[in-house]
Amino acid sequence: MSIAGHQILHDVSIDVELGAITTLLGPSGCGKSTLLNAIAGLLPVDNGNVSLNTKNLVTIPAHKRGIGLMFQNNALFPHMNVERNVAFGLQMQGQKPDQYKETVSEMLNLVGLSGFNKREIGTLSGGESQRVALARALAPSPKALLLDEPFNSLDRSLRTSLLEEVRDVLKTLDIAAIHVTHDWDEATRIADNIAFMDQGQIIRTGSIEEIVENPKYSIVAELIGMESCWTPELFESEGITYFETPWGRRELDTPNPGNISALIRPENIHEKSDGVKAVIQTKKSVYGEWIYKCRLETAFTVFVKTTRNYAIGEKISLYASVDNVELLEVL
């Protein structure tokens, strides 16, 4: 897909089913927003294809596509009140106030803002603004909804609850949605399917379980919060390629693997008295378990998950099986 003469997106192909929410996950600047804007028709597509129910949308201008879009900073019309914001899309379809009034109230009800009809935009809180934005996007019954990191500016707890509400609303209305974020946590709360994007390409798609099971690429592992990744130094002896870990040598199946990255999950590292000595550097608590960042004697850093409580600076000894070291591709 190329835009304004520049090849920006390559081989991007996502299929979204009715009623399914697909999350596009990728680092900043990977082309997520560009892709959304192209789908919405806000950026012209020079070559490439966007289709909805097998109907090609490329030549259709944005306002006739019937695709809703929610923006990062809500993009409400500051000069109109809540009702007129929500009614805007309906008004564009030619509805008169007496026709759209009911729909507007329904929509506001759906997003939990009953009675907000006459409020001015300036008086709304961040969460309320995004709810209005959702109601506005949904009011004209779009065939698909695009969400461009809509909850970025909100604090964590509000974001979590809103995500769940949005998911419920989308499921109720049974519309296809593409949601864009760089936050794995946000993705897990809303997505049915996840597509990873990097440098204008979709590199990995699948359900949440599939992705966690096998991230496949180092960048995917990083995005989903697997921090214990490192780039190993490869050696070769007697036709066998291998690299060293603190717990011994890990041999590779293929002789010339190219760029690879190694991952060892925290749950695969255990305390063992004759293990490798390590010093606790940082700790954080997740639902009663502790995740420690430990520095091994060999100047190697790993993450360890355990229920036991240690102080920072305390020494422990750790063991892991070299078979549990996973290999990831580096793109």
């Binding site: 804007n37 919405a40 806000l42 012209p44 201008p61 944005a62 809703g68 019309f77 000069h79 564009m92």
Partner: protein
């Protein structure tokens, strides 16, 4: 005390609601000093305006104020016709200038393209070109395209006046609108598109309302300039189309009928005051945005398939409309009997070599012009800053009248103000009416309003919290001003200074009707050169115009470098 705590810990901001925001002012540590500063500014600003504006104008208008005279002047049907035409042409010119300005600003603020800087400067140049030159250029165009017999005849018709007004005032609209527009995100427009609004509906329902603050500010200035426009109406209207300003000029100077002129001046003043009061109300309602640098929106803009076509056709139209008169000027400055050369430029820069050509001290004129304009700029910036303190005063009793009063000079007849200064600042008062510095002072009177509005908007937007933050970190009042206020308003100050410089170097208004020391300036020299026969003098006048335009272009591009000054108040 809340303010102090808040200054220390920005993280607490979330807990503030609107109520505490209102209370902030009362807990502002600077409130006492602010009061002192306000009283001092009031004294200085009111003193300056009284001496150089209110008393002179009051005295000259007094001549028109007898009931007999008023009833005679306003008893003539001709007077009402003139008032009607003045209002009519000013309104039409303003509306159309806004339309053209919106069109050009759209290109400048919503597209990033090569040559954007040049187009921006081109849009500013007309503002300071001497009216006599611009009007001549339009008359030439009229002849070149043989419009005399067509419905597009620009000479002696309202159309010509309006087209020339649009040409002049585009700069103001583009400068006011451009800064504001570039800072607006495109998201609401994108949202409107995805909600089913086409390009036109998006523009009228979403973009236009968001531009309102800038449109109000630009509209007010354009109205003032077109309402009191003089040279354009006189030359292009050739007195077939008379306005209040040209009638005041005719009665005051050609007929020495000061009574009638003053009565017309009163009518002019009343209309301008009413307009400014309405404007002030609108500004309070919708927020403000003032003249400044033009910024361009960051990031990609929503687009249609016609984006490129729209951009190129837009640039083309702009260049044709603004560039043709300017281009004609450049062409004339280069054209000699057979071909083109820089002869005239050489002549204006090498003084009276042979004694045959340059009898005018053009080099001295350029130096004088720049020196006087710098003086005017300094005065306008200083007094304008003090006036801005009044404009941004939390007390409505001060800020609201100030809002109206500072722009009054732009809507005042130059003839009457000039004559007023001559009769007021006389030997019984303080005989300064013909000292050289009355010229920069009179020019500054016009610039103060602009500076005050631009800086006032910036001042009002300074969050008192950051001043308090500086205070609790140990800064004295003077240091707070030096390290917080000044850096924040500096861009507006620079922009204001650049505009008052431009106004002064183009010599608008009252200065033409003062008695002044005979030291040549660029506009007077152009005027004198154009006042005599001979192909060389004409060519030199044109070359000097190009020099004037170049000086403006340079000062304005410096302004653009300093960046944008527009802030949202809402």
């Amino acid at each position: 005390m809340l303010g102090e705590i808040n200054g220390l810990n920005n993280g607490l901001k979330l807990f503030y609601d609107d109520e505490s925001r209102k209370n902030r002012n009362t807990t502002d540590l600077r409130i006492k000093n602010t009061k002192l500063a306000t009283s001092a500014s009031i004294l200085l600003v009111v003193g300056f305006f009284s001496i150089f504006y209110f008393i002179p104008l009051g005295k000259i208008l007094w001549y028109g104020l007898s009931p007999d005279n008023i009833s005679t002047v306003f008893g003539r049907s001709g007077t009402w016709k003139v008032i009607w035409f003045t209002l009519w042409q000013a309104t039409i010119s303003t509306v159309l200038s806004l339309c053209v300005g919106i069109f050009i600003s759209n290109i400048l603020s919503r597209f990033n393209f090569r040559g954007r800087g040049a187009l921006r400067v081109l849009a500013t140049i007309p503002f300071v070109m001497p009216t006599v030159v611009v009007a001549s250029a339009f008359l030439s165009l009229n002849k070149i395209f043989q419009l005399e017999q067509s419905i597009f005849n620009l000479e002696g018709t309202p159309l010509g006046i309006i087209v020339a007004h649009i040409f002049f005032n585009t700069a103001i609209v583009v400068r006011t609108l451009g800064g504001w527009w570039g800072q607006l995100t495109v998201d609401p427009e994108c949202a409107a598109r995805t909600l089913g609004a086409g390009a036109f509906r998006t523009f009228f329902l979403v973009t236009m309302p968001r531009l309102k603050p800038a449109l109000i500010a630009a509209g007010a200035l354009t109205f003032l300039f077109t309402f009191t426009s003089f040279g354009i109406i006189l030359i292009l209207g050739s007195l077939k189309q008379a306005t209040l300003e040209t009638e005041i000029w005719r009665y005051a100077t050609q007929r020495t009928d000061i009574n009638t002129a003053a009565a017309l001046g009163i009518a002019q003043l009343v209309i301008v005051v009413l307009m400014l009061v309405v404007n002030s109300r609108l500004r309070n309602k919708y927020g403000t945005s003032e003249l400044g640098a033009i910024s361009v929106a960051k990031g990609e803009i929503y687009a249609s398939r016609f984006r490129k076509t729209r951009l190129y056709s837009g640039i083309l139209c702009t260049v044709i409309f603004l560039g043709t008169p300017v281009g004609l000027l450049v062409e004339r400055s280069l054209r000699i009997a057979n071909g083109y050369s820089f002869t005239y430029y050489q002549q204006i820069f090498t003084e009276s070599q042979s004694g045959r050509f340059s009898i005018f001290e053009t080099r001295a004129a350029i130096i004088n012009s720049i020196t006087w304009a710098l003086f005017a700029m300094a005065i306008a910036t200083l007094i304008g800053y003090l006036a801005a303190i009044l404009l941004s005063s939390p007390s409505e009793k001060i800020s609201k009248p100030a809002d109206v009063l500072f722009l009054l000079p732009l809507g005042t007849s130059g003839v009457l103000l000039g004559f007023g200064i001559i009769v007021t600042l006389n030997s019984s008062f303080w005989n300064i009416r013909s000292s050289w510095w009355i010229i920069p002072v009179a020019q500054a009177v016009l610039g103060i309003g602009l500076v005050a509005r631009m800086v006032g908007t910036a001042l009002r937007d300074i969050d008192p919290e950051i001043r308090n933050a500086a205070k609790v970190l140990g800064a004295s009042d003077a240091k707070v001003w030096r390290h917080v206020d000044l850096p924040i308003i500096s861009r507006s100050l620079i922009a204001g200074a650049a505009f008052s410089f431009a106004i002064a170097i183009g010599e608008f208004g009252a200065t033409a009707f003062l008695v002044r020391p005979q030291r040549p300036t660029i506009p007077t020299t152009i005027f004198n050169l154009l006042g005599r026969p001979g192909a060389s003098t004409y060519g030199q006048a044109m070359a000097l115009c190009v020099v004037l335009a170049a000086i403006t272009a340079i000062s304005m591009s410096l302004l653009d470098r300093t960046g944008s000054v527009i802030r949202e108040t809402a």
